[in-house]
Amino acid sequence: MKAERALYWEYARLAWPVVMGLSIAGCALAGLYRAALEPLGERRDTLAFVAVLSTLALVSVLAMLNVRAEGLALGFERRLYRLPLPSWRLALARQISGLIATSAILLVVTLCSRLLYGVDWPIVGPVLLTAVILAWAQAISWSYADVPFLIAPACAPVAVSLFWLTRPHLRAANPYESFALTDALALGGFLGLGTVAGVLAVGLDRAGKRLIPGAFLSRRRQPGPSRRQQPLVTPRAAVLWREWMEKGRLLTAWTALAILLNLAMSGAGSPSFSADRLLSGLISWSGFMLLAGPAIAGFLHARFDLETRDPGIDRLRATLPLTNQRLAWDLLIAIQRTLGASWVVLVLSTGGALLLVGSGSRAPWMPILEAATSRPAAAGLAAVLALLWFWVIGGLVAALVLTGRTWVVGVGVFLPYGLLGLAFVTQRITGRDLLQDVAVPAAISIAPTLLGATLVGCFVAIRRQLLRPAPTVLSLLGLAMLGGLAAWQNPWIARLATTQSTDALELSVLLLLPAFACSALLPVALAPMALAWNRHR
């Protein structure tokens, strides 16, 4: 058994950062999840929690830390084929290792949540279910590593079967709170099948065979006239094309998949879909979208297949004959387009789902529509500011990513979540609400901080000849006016400003929208600086 021991040792060395990272991220996200949903009386728990949060956390940590994919035993390394071991032993070693790692993550997160949040989430059922999911994920990823577009179709029958198998349990508030022998047998059988499929996949791959029609693949590889002969005319078109091909379509597809998953989870707890149920699911989805920041940054930071060695900008991009300003701007636009596409998918799918489900006498979006039509100017400005908000958040994430430093991205994206998680945990343990303590100082400082950071960022970028002074100043003035107009049109701001007892807070509230509008220039200033720092090390 020495050979297996060596494999386990190697796997442990690869997997420990992933296990630790996912466990910590899972605990933090569990805290945020509970804090966000507790006021709503939300009780759909384990499966939604496990499926959505662990997926987000997995993508975040995998992509963010640019860890090797073998850390979760997804993607079978072909170098292992050089070892003098039969395929079934190689496959089994990786399967058992992955099972131990994922079970450990789930145990830590569940126990932490039980301890901190007093929930009664079960352990055995979810662990076994996760093992089943992992076994099939391994089998499919090992089979179709070279043809990723086949992974989704291959997953579909497995997902449907699994959904059908677990559907009775999903109706309960806590899925698998009662775990019968029949459940164990069903999940055990599914696990066994997944394990066999994984072993078969490795054996076939090692023998140079595949579970897909060879003729289909060979036809794809035939040389011949280009299907895309039209040239990319400008450098920006080329940058946009590459970013879209590498990341955009993945993130968009990912968003669509996550929405479907969440909608399925929303409906799973109820005997039938309804608009209320759907809206409830979408509310929790919007909460998840906030938590998806690390995942988005991860996608942008490293390509999903984790091939790049220089995150953010690789050697080919770095040696393109473009100025830092131009390249950063093109990348910023490309990243924003990627994020925008994801939001469009989100909005369209939400609207479509609402239309499909219907709501009886009164459509759920009617109050929003009525409020918007009663004050069109305010609604229009709010829409513009909402777009600016997406631009600023996406742009700041992009600027972090363009530094190419994993530690900067990690600190910049995870730190806010870590601090929030810490506040929730502290409140749970000591009863002291740190968020309330810092609310007033934060509210006072947010507008000056935003404004100050924007002005300093623009000033430094102008000094380093990464921004042109005249357009920058004009843009700042225009944005400040837009923000001022929005503040003037917004009765909430005016009421809040006049009813506050602190002068500083009143000033900050009045400055909030102009400062926020000005901060639209912050990514434009920071992105070229971040890129230059990355490109010329």
């Binding site: 035939q222 040389p223 280009s226 078109a237 297949d305 080919l316 393109l320 473009l322 010329h536």
Partner: protein
């Protein structure tokens, strides 16, 4: 005389506590084929990265076409064709996608040349980059580097992975053709025979310092190998001024000495140590290279480095 294409002055770079480049001075004139040789980890790639602007000079200056590659990456990179030693082309693209993508950045892109080179290199444009062999990858990178007819071609270890036929027939003809068209070529290699065949000038880099930079003939004419005979335990020849390396000969009491400088003066200096010179001959590039990188003589050779670095 025209301005140098590459002008590096007192360039130094550290990575943590290790010194990657140590006061490098290098000028490359237009139309030159410069071979950069040195052992692994000597600093060849670091130097090339400074020329491309991928690394910022910590000390000293780098000018390419009279421009700072960090301050003006567009001005510099639009005139450079670069082949990296690493497989850093995006693996998901097919070769035709890669051509289409890269074409957008270079106004001088020559489609006819791309077609010609693709056929010459026997590349299948429908193949994905990640499925290419090392040799095919280098050939693809070469097509991309040459397609805009750059006035400066920078090749970082281009031969690794190429079979001898491709190396001799294709790579060498490309370098010669490029040089004949008036372009400048800088290529790093650890294959001395290749450097000898291709380059007009050679820069040898050891431990981050350029220890030799001259025309090939000049290097050969300056370095000599002496077969000497000595009685008794042997003289400390390594300390003789101008001697780079001494090694035992085939017979007892004999050794071979590699030295740099005037051969008559070297012979006199050796004789003064009590040895008799049996034979004198010009060195091969191999012998100069091995003498320069031998760590046993690093202290002695250090005294000469500054003198000979150009």
């Amino acid at each position: 005389m025209s301005d140098p294409v590459i002008e590096i002055r007192e360039l130094s770079r550290r990575f943590g506590s290790s010194i990657a480049l140590d006061h490098i001075d290098l000028c490359v004139a237009e139309g030159t084929v410069l071979g950069l040789i040195g052992p692994n980890g000597a600093g060849k790639t670091t130097l090339i990265k400074h020329i491309l602007g991928l690394l910022r000079s910590e000390q000293g200056s780098t000018r390419v076409f009279g421009l700072d590659p960090v301050a003006d990456p567009e001005g510099v990179l639009s005139r450079i064709g670069y082949v990296s030693e690493e497989r850093d082309l995006p693996g998901w693209m097919r070769i035709r996608d890669l051509y289409r993508y890269t074409r957008a950045f270079f106004p001088n892109w020559d489609d006819a040349l791309v077609t010609e080179l693709t056929e010459r290199f026997q590349l299948d444009v429908g193949q994905k980059v990640k499925t290419l062999s090392r040799g095919q990858h280098v050939r693809t990178a070469l097509v991309l580097a040459l397609a805009h007819r750059p006035p400066l071609l920078v090749l970082d270890e281009p031969s690794s992975g190429l079979d001898p036929v491709v190396r001799r027939d294709v790579l060498e003809s490309i370098v010669h053709t490029t040089a004949q068209s008036g372009s400048t070529v800088l290529f790093s290699s650890h294959l001395l025979d290749e450097v000898e065949r291709l380059s007009d000038r050679l820069a040898m880099i050891v431990d981050g310092r350029i220890v030799v930079h001259d025309e090939l003939d000049g290097i050969r004419q300056r370095h000599w190998c002496f077969a000497v005979h000595y009685d008794g335990p042997g003289a400390p020849l390594a300390n003789v001024d101008g001697v780079l390396k001494s090694k035992p000969g085939l017979s007892p009491g004999e050794c071979e000495v590699i030295g740099e400088g005037d051969p008559e003066e070297l012979a006199r200096a050796l004789t003064a140590q009590g040895v008799s010179v049996l034979e004198r001959r010009p060195t091969t590039l191999d012998e100069v290279f091995l003498a320069r990188i031998d760590p046993a003589h690093s202290t002695q050779t250090a005294a000469h480095r500054t003198d000979h670095a150009t």
